[in-house]
Every structure is written in structure tokens, then in C-alpha cells.
């Protein structure tokens, strides 16, 4: 996929305070943020960030307060000017723009949603939603129509003429979102957009964002300090602390393969069931080939592996069924070789990309492990209750 990145950032660095060039030099020598502060008095906001965001992606930038995530996102539209480094929006270097060109980029390419909504208290809901268009000098009628459509899109009907302070927090942020959507810009920067909302409202807004994203395919850069939120909505997640990026990856990679101790500690108390898929918790199944093996082989396999049942597959490792050690023993006792006569086929099955969260209930109720099958019914593995628990607890799942 050789698509040009929608947003690309190269060695982006922000240093606050004086002695910037000295601090930059120390940074390049690998001196830590705390030492640079001690030696020069300069604060490193963001340290040589590199990443790119593809069109249509929800890219979450994660970090605790003071990690530099807000600074990082504000450098993308130069609300904060970087000390060093480059930002490319659709291939164009934002650092090289003059004031007027920069305003144009902000008007047409990037819209922003703020943590505390930042709605103008002197304007009505409709005027707020149309603010970006007003700045562009679009006529009142078109502006109102587009603002109205954007408000419909976020399910805010009938509040056009109210003022922001007459609305609840959740509704206010819908207006904030509508203001960003009315602009028709392809890139949305969302700075802790849902952090000020109560948990129920936050979930609602996340759902709504995902619903809107399905329709509009924006490129969304979402700042959050809530890992559950990041795992829920993010296609990819960037984790940073102390101005430095720790890891960039999809939610699954972050959870199953943390890049360093910091990320590992970070993901310690996350609700893993919401991000882990069957694929990452399944274990290899002991199988026998129905064509080549009879009851004795089956029993032997079970004894070697110390298990009480075994999965039956065909030549191409396609799932056929499941036999129990007691049944197989009885079969041998009867001197029968027909494994199929005792084989059970009513085994619970699932796909590899199903979320563990969706299976939790059923896994706890069924005595037989789930069989994980792909589209062609190949047996990929099975889900043991023990390995699910281990995965939720954050342990490595043995293959």
C-alpha cells in the first residue's frame, strides 16, 4: 500500500523556555528530559516525534497529563510552533506556509474539537456550528444550511437557536463536533474531546463518532488519556510519555506486545476483554486425522498430552468433530474402529477475529472448549478457559 500519508510528522520537536539550541544539542546526545531541565532550564515538550497517519484512520495519541500529547497535536496545525522538525499535511510542508496559507489550511483541511468544548457563549448553537464557514466568508444561507446538516449528523435537533450554556456537556460537545464536521475538512483533531463528559455520555459520543466515521471516512487524530477509550475507537494507538513516543501499533499489538516497561505498566489495568480477540488467546489444539488414525491413536494422543478429549480433522486440517477419551475407550473395548460413531459434532465454534468480550458469557457456560475456525473451516486452535483468564490477567498466552 504505497498511499501518501494524510498527516506525516518527521523529527517533530518542541522545547519550551530559553536555551533552545543548547537543549536541542543535549537532546540529540540522548540526555534525559529531567537532566536537560536541570542543565539548561528548558523544558522538552515533544522529543523528535515520527509517525504518519493514513486517510480514513482513527489514530489515537495516548499519554498521561504532561506527556506532551496536547503539544504534539497542536503542532500539527501550528497552534504551537515546533522548535524543530517537519509536518506534512497531504504531502505539503506546513512549516513552510506563510500566515495566510496557514489560515487556509486551518479553514479547509484541519478542524479541531476541544476538551472543554470551546463554544462561543455569545453565539447560538447554529452560529457556533457554522463558525468555521463564517471565517471562510461563506454566505449566511449556505452556512446555516451546512451547520444545520452537521447538527443533524450529531443528532442534535431543535436546539439551533439556543445558547451553549443552555445545553448539557454532552450536547455541547456535539455542537463542538458539528462545528468541526460542518467545515468538510478531511482531518479532525480531537483533543481529549470526550474527557470532560461523564462515562455514559462518553460512551455515547464514542459510538456516535464511530458511526459518523463509518459514513464520512475522516482522518481522525484523537488525543486521550483513557486507554479503554483508545482501545475502543483507535485503529492505531501511539503511546507517549515525557515527550517521547514509546510505541505505535494497533490495539492488539499494544496489549499483547508492549514495547517497553512503561507501556506494560500502562496497560496493566486495562479491561483487556474489550480489545483482545480470539486469535490472541487461542491455544493449539491436539488433533488426530480421521483418515489415518483410529481409536487407539486417538487414545494414545490423549494420554501423551494428558487431555480427556481430542479434535478430529481431515487431511487438510479442516475441522470434523471431537471425541471424548471415555467414548474412545469404550469403542476400543467393543473392538470397533469406527471413530465417527462416537464423534460429537455439536462443538461450539467461533472465528479468529471475534472479541473475547463477546464470548465471555458463553465460554464460562460451555464445558467443551470453543473451536476456532477460519472461513474454510480449518481448525486454527481452541479457547481454553484458563488461557482466557491468563490473557485478561495480562500474562503471555502459551501456544
Amino acid at each position: 500500500m504505497e498511499k501518501e500519508a494524510k498527516v506525516k510528522v518527521h523529527n517533530l520537536t518542541k522545547i519550551f523556555g530559553t536555551h533552545k539550541s543548547e537543549a536541542l544539542k543535549l537532546l540529540q546526545q540522548g540526555v534525559s528530559k529531567a537532566d536537560i531541565l536541570k542543565r539548561t532550564g528548558a523544558t522538552v515538550g515533544v522529543n523528535r516525534a515520527n509517525f504518519s497517519v493514513q486517510a480514513g484512520e482513527i489514530f489515537v495519541i495516548m499519554g498521561l497529563s504532561g506527556s506532551g500529547k496536547s503539544t504534539l497535536v497542536r503542532m500539527l496545525n501550528r497552534l504551537i510552533n515546533p522548535t524543530r522538525g517537519e509536518v506534512f499535511i497531504e504531502g505539503a510542508d506546513v512549516m513552510k506556509l506563510n500566515k495566510k496559507q496557514l489560515r487556509q489550511v486551518r479553514q479547509q483541511k484541519i478542524s479541531m474539537v476541544f476538551q472543554n468544548f470551546a463554544l462561543f457563549p455569545n453565539m447560538t448553537v447554529l452560529q457556533n456550528a457554522g463558525y468555521g464557514l463564517e471565517v471562510q466568508g461563506i454566505d449566511l444561507q449556505t452556512r446555516n444550511q451546512k451547520a444545520h446538516e452537521a447538527l443533524e449528523l450529531v443528532h442534535l435537533h431543535g436546539y439551533d437557536d439556543q445558547y451553549p450554556d443552555q445545553l448539557s456537556g454532552g450536547m455541547q460537545q456535539r455542537v463542538g463536533l458539528a462545528r468541526a464536521l460542518a467545515n468538510d475538512s478531511q482531518i479532525l483533531l480531537m483533543d481529549e474531546a470526550f474527557s470532560a463528559l461523564d462515562p455514559l455520555n462518553r460512551r455515547d459520543m464514542q459510538d456516535q463518532l464511530l458511526e459518523i466515521q463509518e459514513k464520512m471516512h475522516k482522518t481522525i487524530i484523537f488525543i486521550s488519556h483513557d486507554l479503554n477509550e483508545a482501545l475502543r475507537i483507535g485503529d492505531r494507538i501511539l503511546i507517549m510519555h515525557d515527550g517521547t513516543i514509546d510505541q505505535i501499533g494497533d490495539p492488539e499489538t499494544i496489549l499483547t506486545n508492549p514495547a517497553n516497561d512503561y507501556v506494560e505498566r500502562f496497560i496493566e489495568d486495562v479491561d483487556r476483554t474489550k480489545a483482545l480477540t480470539v486469535k490472541s488467546v487461542m491455544t493449539k489444539a491436539s488433533t488426530i486425522n480421521i483418515k489415518t488414525s483410529g481409536p487407539r491413536v486417538a487414545l494414545r494422543q490423549m494420554r501423551i498430552n494428558d487431555i480427556s478429549s481430542i479434535y478430529v480433522v481431515d487431511d487438510e486440517h479442516r475441522f470434523v468433530g471431537f471425541v471424548d477419551s471415555d467414548d474412545v475407550a469404550a469403542l476400543i473395548h467393543k473392538k470397533s474402529k469406527d471413530l465417527r460413531s462416537v464423534m460429537k459434532t455439536d462443538v461450539p465454534i467461533t472465528g479468529p477475529d471475534v472479541l473475547i468480550n463477546d464470548l465471555m458469557d458463553k465460554i464460562s457456560k460451555t464445558p467443551i472448549p470453543y473451536a476456532v475456525l477460519d472461513d474454510q473451516h480449518h481448525l486454527l486452535g481452541i479457547i481454553l478457559r484458563g488461557s482466557v483468564l491468563a490473557a485478561i490477567a495480562g500474562e503471555e498466552v502459551g501456544q
Binding site: 479553514q107 476541544f114 462561543f120
Partner: protein, 285 residues
């Protein structure tokens, strides 16, 4: 032993006099300023002269009624009606309109100069650093002192009175405009920036509307300070209620002085209430 006599006195007064003398050569410049201000004064006075007493009273009552259409108002309306009738009855009506002209002209100039200066101060901290001590100076220097150069440059009459009032009355408007713009929440300014607003768009659509009530409070203060200058201004020939007070002082006539002073108080309260209503936020629920 060193005594104070041995240290030469810094000839500050001589320097100021030299400066005033030097400035006197630009009399053409000062004449055109005088003419300009006299024009504004004449316009105001002309309006007040052609308006019959009853009509002006009705206008004042109507403004108050409209401003307070959602709140209690009858007490204030009664006060305004009785107060203005009392001024008319005491024979101070024309003096009152002259004072009104002086105050409104001074406030208008304070506004035209003060609001842009306040905005500039809010935008540039360097300007704030320079202007703030000048404002302190303007407000704390005894107002009488301004009368001397005012007469030297602008002669006797309404114009020097207006200028002395302007110097004294402008600082609150400047300060409150600066404060109001600086107090606009940073996230709203950032939002305007993030959507690509120009400096002008930001000022007109976001900063000034949000600073509005603070700026109005500053203008209200300026108006009150201008009114406090009327007696002082009368000493250099500015006409109005101040002149009546000044004469009464000269004649040692406590009764006449009190009557004219009461007219000033009534005018002050009416002007204060009307401009205070402007500081309320426009939309209230």
C-alpha cells in the same frame, strides 16, 4: 556637614515651562484641534438646545424603560422624572445640557482613543508595560495641573475643559478594555485560531463581544470621572452646572451651591444607571 542648600535644585519646573513654550509654536496645530472639538461640542449642544425639555425627559425615560424591560424599573423611572423636573424647576436646565455636552464629548473622545489603545495593550505586552505608568500618571496628577497648559494651548472655554476631562477620564476605558480582552478564555481564542480566523475576525467576532461588559464598565467609569471634572473645568470657562457651583463658592452662597450640586448628583445617577445597564450581558435566561 552637608546641608540641603548645597545640593542644587533640579530645575524641573523650568524644563516643563520650556517644553510648554516650545509647544506653543505649533499654535496652528492646536487651533485645528480646538476647531475639531468645538465642532463636536456645538453639535451636541445644538441637539440639546432644539429639544424641548419634555422631549428630552421622555427620551431618557424611554431609554431606561427599554433597557429594563425585563426587570424592575418603576423606582428608577420615577426618580428620573422627578429629578429632571427638579433641575428644570430650579432653572438649571440649560446648564445641565451644557454639562451633558461636556461629559458626553469627553466620554466620546475617551472611548475613541481608549478602546483601540486598550486592545493594543492586550495584544502587545510591551505596549502594556509602557502605557500603564502613563495611565497612573494621568489619573493621579491633580486635575488642576492640566488646566494650565490646557489654557495655554486651547485658550478659555469648553475645549480646554473637555481636554482636561479627557486626560482624567480616559484611563478606566483603556484599562478595562485591556483587561476585558485579556480575560477572554484562552480556549476560545485558540478555537478561533484553530478554525483559521484572522486577527480582525477574532477581534470582532470573539474578543470584543466577550469583553463587552468589561469594556462597558470602563466606559461607565470614564463617564463618571468626566462628570467629576465639571466644577474644575468651569474654572477655565467651561459652561454648565460647574459654573453655577463655582459662582456660588465665589459668592459664599451655600444654598445656590447646594442646589447646583444636587443637579450634578441627579445627572450623575441617571447617566450611571443608563450606562450600567449596558454592562449587563445581552442574553440572559
Amino acid at each position: 556637614m552637608i546641608s540641603a542648600v548645597q545640593i542644587p535644585k533640579i530645575p524641573l519646573a523650568d524644563w516643563i515651562n520650556a517644553l510648554v513654550d516650545w509647544l506653543s509654536q505649533f499654535s496652528g496645530f492646536f487651533n485645528s484641534i480646538t476647531n475639531f472639538f468645538q465642532g463636536i461640542i456645538n453639535a451636541f449642544q445644538w441637539v440639546f438646545d432644539i429639544l424641548p425639555v419634555g422631549v428630552l425627559i421622555i427620551i431618557v425615560l424611554a431609554i431606561t424603560y427599554w433597557q429594563k424591560r425585563h426587570t424592575k424599573k418603576w423606582g428608577l423611572l420615577t426618580f428620573e422624572l422627578l429629578g429632571l423636573l427638579l433641575i428644570w424647576n430650579l432653572g438649571f436646565w440649560h446648564d445641565m445640557t451644557e454639562t451633558l455636552t461636556l461629559v458626553l464629548t469627553s466620554t466620546l473622545i475617551a472611548l475613541v482613543v481608549g478602546v483601540p489603545l486598550g486592545i493594543w495593550m492586550a495584544k502587545k505586552t510591551l505596549v502594556q508595560t509602557i502605557v500603564n505608568p502613563i495611565l497612573d500618571f494621568m489619573q493621579t496628577m491633580p486635575a488642576f495641573v492640566y488646566l494650565i497648559p490646557a489654557v495655554a494651548f486651547f485658550g478659555i472655554g469648553m475645549v480646554p475643559g473637555v481636554l482636561a476631562s479627557v486626560i482624567f477620564a480616559t484611563p478606566p476605558t483603556v484599562r478595562m478594555t485591556n483587561l476585558g480582552i485579556r480575560q477572554v478564555p484562552a480556549d476560545l481564542v485558540e478555537a478561533a485560531d484553530a478554525y483559521g480566523a484572522s486577527a480582525w475576525q477574532k477581534l470582532i467576532k470573539v474578543e470584543l463581544p466577550l469583553a463587552r461588559s468589561t469594556i462597558m464598565a470602563g466606559i461607565n467609569q470614564s463617564l463618571m470621572l468626566a462628570l467629576s471634572m465639571v466644577v474644575i473645568a468651569s474654572m477655565i470657562g467651561a459652561l454648565g452646572l460647574g459654573t453655577q457651583v463655582y459662582f456660588a463658592v465665589g459668592r459664599n452662597d451655600a444654598g445656590a451651591g447646594f442646589a447646583a450640586g444636587l443637579a450634578v448628583v441627579i445627572l450623575a445617577i441617571i447617566l450611571d444607571r443608563i450606562t450600567q445597564a449596558l454592562t449587563q450581558d445581552r442574553h440572559q435566561h
